[in-house]
Amino acid sequence: MTVGAPVLSIRNLDVDYGIGRHAVRAVRDVSLTLHRGEVLGLAGESGSGKSTLAYGMTRLLAPPGVVRGGEVIFHPPGGGEPYDVLSLSDGQLREFRWAQTSIVFQGAMNSLNPVHRVVTQMVDVLKAHEPKMTARARLDRVRELLSLVGISEDRMDSYPHQLSGGMRQRVMIAMALALEPHVVIMDEPTTALDVVMQRQILRELIDLRERLGFSVMFITHDLSLLVEFSDRIAIMYGGRIVEEAPAGALYKDSLHPYSDGLLHSFPALRGARRELSGIPGSPPDLRAMPTGCAFHPRCPMAFDPCAKRVPVLGVPMVPPGGASRPSLADVAVVPAQRGGTGSGQPRARTVACWLHETRPA
């Protein structure tokens, strides 16, 4: 397993809500690559398009959501021919789901059916996708999965209401891993849990990732969580990705004023004290997006070109740290496990802001 080989690459994805005159573009021209064995964090305010992106790329968006353009290329890890998820037929899509990509939904702990035992619901998945498996093998697999996420086997015969929220969440994660997918998308899977449980579950997830070698796309508005657990972070605003960087680099030295605002919205546990500023204003109305950079009405550093032209995501020319803002390098938060995070990747970091001279990625 090598980090670096792309497993899922999104190219110029556009997602609309509604069709015709009332269409609202919730995701605009998003390009993003998920590499093998990597945890990619997707952060942004409510309504910035994070969840729409995740559901759009997996074609799980409920009506009136429509994918209006772009490609989502899945690279089978066995070295098979890459294919576009967006052009799969319904049948192929059914095959693809769960086996290749699984999702843990927002409030996933309520996704369990209250009248069935945990084991029944987990066996169900295996029955549907691996019909050749024997009943005993299925049960063994369920046991194995539950122990993976730290639930003892005797909880197998419980009903969902007999488990705590954290345990149900773990069951959902175990279910997501049941078919050993290559990509696991997590859409704010821990928002309903307390911080201790959040941390614990994420820790387990990261460990599992290292053992099983899947990639994770982690969506949250909790940037502090991402800084700690993910390898790379993409920041979304107004349906676009405004900055993408290795977690540590983003934390130490964010290039986009919006990322900077997000980072200054929560306190650091250790290190030098810094002022919490937050971001004034509110997210843009997708029906009436500001011209140019969507963030410019709220941006403290907005200048002439911001209102006129949309900045394009590109690799910054100025070496990071030499940019316009003071470095936060002295803050000691362990970014990610992998030492050489992001190194050797073609696009180490990109930003879409007129403050930074960029070259096309």
Partner: protein, 362 residues
């Protein structure tokens, strides 16, 4: 707001003037959305025709329905569109005149039953406790009363059995089912968070019932009403058919009663019973269609989700949960009456080209 106009321009710099008229037409479309549903539209049109005939039927009927003629059991002809009876009466006139009675009884009984079921059902469900017990017992009793035999007995006992009395009797005996459904629905609604919130913020009970609970019951009430109307129409026709109601008052059941008692089938006089039977069937169909339409219209979730079709160059794509359609800009077929993209300047910049596609899509 300046930002909003410029923002719109960013989406479609095709000028703002046409957008205003489009918005207006859109407003109009939203107002007539109920009719846009094909089921609702069909039901409304058929029912509308019935209502018109119920009103003007007796005036436009070519003959007095009881007036005898010389042509006995005559097949349909230019003179008698639906043929004649054994007494030479014009069946077309009988059907026309009979419409009023059928609709009158149907809707009056439906209204009575609906009002009763809402009163009893919602009150019982919302109040709970002893009131609920009592009202539930009452509706259970009414549920087991055999309505039709009861009506037969009462109408034969009372001398002046007219249509209003029959409507009253049908209405008073058929509300219990609706009340049970409404009670069950109210029981589930009253524990919802928004109702609890309303109670916590001090809303009065009547206001909670009227403003928080009732709007959620609209679909159930409406379909209950339509269902009772169908039931009342059927009951009335059955009563007339078995000869219980006053045979001098014309309705479709009376026609069927005479057709049956004169053995129309043996005489091969199909025109005697087919028109009245079809009229009943068609009325039932229109009400059922209306029912479906109301269901989809009242429930915002049913209204917006699913079934929506996107017309593309290669056929229609349906929006459905779990399989988000992929519609690339070139795929969309412009709807009828859309502005022709050729209005755009030829040397449009890149940004406008994207808009161009979107405009064509609208």
């Amino acid at each position: 707001m300046a930002a909003s106009t410029t923002g719109l321009a960013a989406i479609g710099p095709a000028g703002t003037a046409p957008d205003v008229t489009l918005a207006e037409s859109d407003e109009r479309r939203r107002r007539f959305r109920f009719i846009q549903n094909p089921k609702a539209a069909t039901g409304t049109v058929i029912l509308g025709i019935y209502v018109i005939f119920a009103i003007i039927g007796p005036w436009i009927a070519p003959y007095d329905p009881t007036q005898r003629g010389n042509a006995l059991v005559a097949a349909p002809s230019a003179k008698h569109w639906f043929g004649t009876t054994h007494l030479g009466q014009d069946i077309f006139s009988q059907v026309l005149v009979g419409t009023r009675g059928v609709l009158y009884v149907g809707f009056l009984a439906g209204a009575i039953a609906t009002v009763l079921s809402v009163l009893v059902g919602v009150t019982a469900g919302y109040l709970g406790g002893l009131a609920d017990e009592g009202m539930s017992a009452l509706s259970n009793v009414f549920l087991v009363i055999p309505a039709l035999p009861l009506i037969v007995i009462i109408t034969s006992a009372l001398p002046g059995a007219n249509e209003t009395l029959i409507a009253l009797l049908i209405g008073l005996t058929s509300w219990a089912w609706g009340a049970r459904i409404l009670r069950a629905q109210t029981l589930s609604l009253r524990r919802r968070d928004y109702v609890e919130a309303a109670r916590a913020s001090g809303e009065k009970s009547w206001r909670i019932i009227l403003f928080e609970i009732m709007p959620n019951l609209t679909a159930v009430i409406a379909s209950g009403f339509v269902g009772t109307v169908i039931f009342a129409v059927m009951s009335e026709i059955t009563l007339a058919f078995v000869g219980v109601s006053d045979v001098s008052e014309w309705n479709w059941g009376t026609i069927l009663y005479w057709a049956q008692s004169q053995q129309a089938l043996d005489q091969h006089a199909w025109w005697w019973f087919v028109p009245a039977g079809l009229a009943v069937a068609l009325l039932g169909t229109s009400l059922a269609l209306l029912n479906f339409g109301i269901d989809e219209f009242v429930n915002p979730r049913l209204r917006d989700s699913g079934g929506q079709k996107i017309r593309t160059v290669s056929g229609a794509v349906r929006m459905r949960v779990g399989f988000t359609p992929v519609v690339r800009p070139g795929d969309l077929r412009p709807p009828r009456g859309a502005r022709v993209p050729a209005q755009q300047p030829v040397d449009a910049p890149a940004a406008a080209t994207i808009t161009f596609d979107k405009e064509g899509a609208r």
